[in-house]
């Protein structure tokens, strides 16, 4: 048990070990230019006292907080935890620590969070998307000393580095695959999120590829709020009541697609012969559905990993990878719900 004036300072450890503050500091930072004997004394003292170094003071003195600001729109999307795990894995052995902020897709919140994070003087910023308020953009532009990596999406003008996929291309690819398999009356089902720019771009890419083939979206439906199973059911029922002749449904994500899939099976509709189906994101759950859903991998883990690697590299060599642009290639899974029509 420790004395009351907790937290302790270096001075306390110095007093308890009979070693100067400076040398204590060296030991605690793991520097190797300290005699083994001295090191032992210090470690012993620190441990028995229960000393926890004050990183605030350390960061101020050394001008390095070793934090990486990570700004993402949501945690409930399932996509972002995977990005985070890529980031964690890449940062694990670097001495850099990720600090996460969640914007809920709100530009004002992004501004606020970015400001807060920058005020902790991070060593780098990883931030989702390329579209943001002019204030946020200016803050990033001004942070010229640190790496800024915009992630998820490459369709636009990055501030510095960027790692992601082209959502426009992803939409196009899926459209082409659908057409190639003979579907003609195609419906689109999305969640109403004017600020989800990536979903919007997929939609744009999708419609433009259809247009190139002389086909228009036969019907479309947007629902607000969460992208849960129940939502997918409702949307699917609604669009098919309105347009019973649709032969393909493209959903903006796997969650609502899964709901749609379950609904269609219940209705006794045969997949994919009567109606084909595709989602987006290749969530793990598509594996466990009664039919394997067609979808597209958004390279989430890899994006996080690569982005963090860029930050880590730049922290070692101030100019490495500056303005680096990495475009990953999403791959289609056709599953059981997107097949050549007989």
């Amino acid at each position: 048990m420790t004395r009351d004036p907790y937290p302790l300072t270096l001075r306390d450890v110095s007093a308890a070990s009979g070693v100067s503050e400076m040398t204590v500091s060296r030991v605690l930072r793991g520097r190797r230019d300290v005699a083994a004997e001295t090191r032992e004394k210090v470690l012993q003292a620190a441990k028995t006292l229960g000393y926890v170094p004050n990183k605030i003071a350390g960061a101020l003195a050394s001008q390095r907080a070793n934090l990486v600001a990570v700004i993402i729109p949501s945690l409930s999307n399932l996509v972002f935890p995977e990005v985070l795990s890529g980031i964690s894995d890449a940062l694990d052995e670097t001495g850099l620590q990720p600090v996460v902020g969640v914007t809920n897709y709100l530009p004002e919140r992004e501004e606020k969070i970015l400001y807060e994070m920058l005020s902790w003087r991070p060593s780098g910023v990883i931030i989702a998307g390329l579209e943001r308020s002019s204030v946020s953009h200016a803050m990033l532009k001004n942070a010229t000393k640190i790496p800024i990596v915009e992630i998820m999406d490459v369709d636009g003008e990055p501030v510095d580095a960027v790692v992601g996929i082209s959502h426009r291309r992803a939409g196009r690819m899926m459209a082409e695959e659908i057409l190639k398999n003979g579907y003609k009356k195609i419906g689109f089902l999305g969640t109403q999120m004017p600020l989800d720019h990536r979903a919007r771009k997929r939609f744009e890419g999708f419609t433009s590829a259809l247009a190139k083939a002389g086909i228009e979206i036969a019907d479309q439906i947007f629902y607000s709020q969460s992208s849960a199973f129940a939502k997918g059911r409702d949307m699917t029922r609604a669009i098919l009541e309105r347009s019973p002749d649709l032969d393909f449904l493209y959903y903006s994500n796997d969650m609502i697609a899964a709901g749609g899939l379950l609904y269609l099976l219940e209705q006794g509709i045969d997949l994919p012969t009567q109606i084909g189906l595709a989602g987006f994101n290749k969530l793990e759950l598509v594996e466990g559905l009664p039919r394997k859903l067609a979808t597209m991998d958004a390279c989430r883990y890899e994006i996080g990993k690569k982005a963090a690697e860029i930050v880590a590299l730049r922290c070692e060599d101030g100019n490495a990878q500056r303005g680096q642009s990495v475009t990953l290639q999403p791959s289609i899974s056709l599953g059981d719900t997107l097949k050549r029509r007989p």
Copy 2:
């Protein structure tokens, strides 16, 4: 565009506005004892320069970082993002900022993360669970100056405050409900996570309530790794091959239960007459399944909210709510899969 020596300091704003550093600091901290005219000058200068205050220096000088350390085992569990959103909501207007650390259910990682977080001198700690290494426990015990709130689980000895549900009781409640409805041959399906103490306690509560009724678990199965749909399917197939006479399946979470539900329906098994089913957590997704799954609400959002409120209160009044213990009551949803047997 700003000059190169970025980031700027208070001194720069002071120079640009012709106001002393001290007064600039007052304005930027939103204190009201500054002349409106002076305030304007300062704000103007700060804005045009693009000044972002250095919280590291601020925190060191004021001895307050206004951070709340939040330590949870996982982000992919879907449960924890909801806890986080309760925490965010409660902290939003308090000037306190949550900082999240993820342990992956590993005590060593918890130790490391706790140490890291404490080294940033947070104003409070919210940490999942009551079971931890003695080192972690000592660190928490030593942090007497700040509120420590252990969350999710109340079955054990808290260090300070605690907010959660009794998982033992949750297990018992479900067992009693199952028995009440006439099921007799009960199987348990869990994920193999020796370090998920809450799942373990639910299991213990469950079996002890069955024992009280003179019934033993008829079969049980544990699978490792993720708790996805596919896992639930596999486990369900496996346990039923082994014990085809089971009339109820209790899953340790809704994800694997959902997989099981889909599998059983595919097999043409009638729910809940042939076999009854229950999960745990009341995830949103149970709403969208072909049958509404019986489950139990773990009060995730409320737990986060309440825990953060305790921290916030204690930060205002150093002794408020010390040692507070809040036990929330989980509620059962019977859905379509747990009904009196004919």
